[in-house]
């Protein structure tokens, strides 16, 4: 068929027939790529949620209450868009970076319990946080599974010894059909997970043991198990 077409159609006509076809293909490809780009959700006021801790979490009681200082929070989630909570249904974004939200939550709770130092120099223990997960994790599809997971290197400012403390917070909220309800449920879900993770960290036995060992080390006795101050690896998700 094609050889017949080639034989019967002159060369100039063949070119004139092929050009519009190629043009249409190029236009369609361009349209498809533009459409795909338009589908990428963008943060707008109507699809942005604000995550707050609410009431500060009271930490556990320490024998000798130390002063903490949060030096920095590093995002180790590996997500290219850490503020994007959900891609479906027009997208859902956080108003702040997850690292900022987590830092504020822990600082707020430490400050309320008078355990936050005024600056790094006056702190007994310096905290370095590594955030592994913040937001929604894969759930059953019928509900929203909120998860906040981080690890902290607690370092004695004087002895330079450190220990690792892990914390995880989870929450399950019901699903929703309407977009407004969905946003509300996701916001509540992540807030609950953040509260849970903050509480898990501040009231955890790991923190208690770390504080006891590190402050004991400062008194002249060696600490139980120094961590060496290396950044931790993420736990399995």
């Amino acid at each position: 068929m094609s050889s017949y077409w080639r034989a019967k159609t002159p060369v100039f006509l063949r070119c004139t027939l092929l050009q519009p076809v190629l043009f249409i293909v190029a236009v369609l490809t361009l349209l498809a790529s533009l459409r795909a780009k338009a589908d990428e959700p963008k943060p707008k006021p109507e699809n942005t949620i604000s995550i707050q801790l609410g009431e500060p979490i009271p930490p556990q009681r320490f024998e000798h209450p130390p002063k903490f200082w949060i030096a920095d929070v590093t995002d180790r989630s590996g997500s290219p868009q850490p503020m994007l909570v959900m891609k479906e249904r027009g997208g859902l974004f956080l108003d702040k970076q997850p690292t900022v939200i987590l830092k504020e939550a822990i600082e707020q709770s430490l400050k309320a319990a008078d355990l936050l130092a005024s600056d790094q120099g006056s702190a007994d223990l310096v905290l370095r946080l590594y955030l592994f997960h913040f937001g929604l994790a894969s759930g059953s599809g019928l509900d929203f599974f909120g998860k906040v997971e981080f690890s902290t290197i607690v370092k004695n400012a004087k002895t330079r010894e450190s220990q690792e403390v892990k914390a995880v917070g989870t929450s399950i909220a019901s699903g929703a059909f309407r977009k407004k309800n969905m946003q509300k449920n996701v916001e509540e879900d992540i807030e609950a997970a953040l509260r849970d993770a903050t509480r898990n960290f501040l009231r955890g036995t790991q923190l208690k043991e770390a504080v006891t060992a590190l402050l004991k080390g400062a008194d002249g006795t060696p600490a139980a198990a120094p961590g060496g101050g290396t950044s931790p690896k993420p736990t399995s998700n």
């Binding site: 019928l142 955890g204 036995t205 208690k208």
Partner: protein, 170 residues
């Protein structure tokens, strides 16, 4: 006649109110759920264990078995320890199921199957309060997380039943 009708309606309402179960105070102060471990040969993702942990905590909160459901590894006041529970367990068996078998035979054939064993201990003295065995079967086309939801619900239901019976005087 009107008086009679009114008295009948009042009586029905009174019976209804009396029959409604009262909201009892939770028996325990705190309940701690731990991440379940998986036995050798169980091919389930760590995400499943995470999700099951979250579901178990959600179900424990719903069941009002304890005043507070705490996270794994959280400290409890010494005074509250005798009235605190710790739930831990193992996923002992998981069968992926078979969609073809399920579609052709039906009646539960080819379903995904999950077996779990859980221990509920008292925090203060580690005394075993109950041991639970849960077996859940779901359609092979369903997400494994739905199976986790069902397993958590079943486990807490069983736990509440056993612990409530255990609290009753003989």
């Amino acid at each position: 006649m009107r008086v009679l009708m009114a008295s009948v309606v009042t009586a029905i309402f009174a019976i209804g109110v009396a029959a409604k179960p009262k909201d009892e105070a939770p028996q325990y102060k705190t309940a701690e759920a731990k991440h379940f471990t998986t036995a050798e040969g169980v091919e389930l993702s760590p995400a499943f264990v995470d999700y099951f942990y979250a579901e178990l905590r959600a179900e424990l909160t719903k069941a009002k078995l304890a005043n507070e459901v705490i996270g794994e590894g959280e400290a409890v006041d010494d005074a509250d320890a005798p009235k605190s529970l710790v739930v831990s367990g193992t996923i002992s068996e998981y069968k992926k199921g078979n969609v073809v078998k399920s579609a052709l035979i039906g009646f539960g054939a080819g379903f995904k199957s999950l077996k779990m064993d859980a221990d509920v201990v008292r925090r203060s003295d580690q005394q075993n309060l109950c041991t639970l065995h849960v077996h859940v079967k779901v359609d092979p086309r369903w997400n494994e997380k739905i199976m986790a939801k069902g397993a958590a619900r079943e486990m807490v239901k069983e736990m509440k039943k056993v612990l409530t019976e255990g609290m009753k005087p003989a």
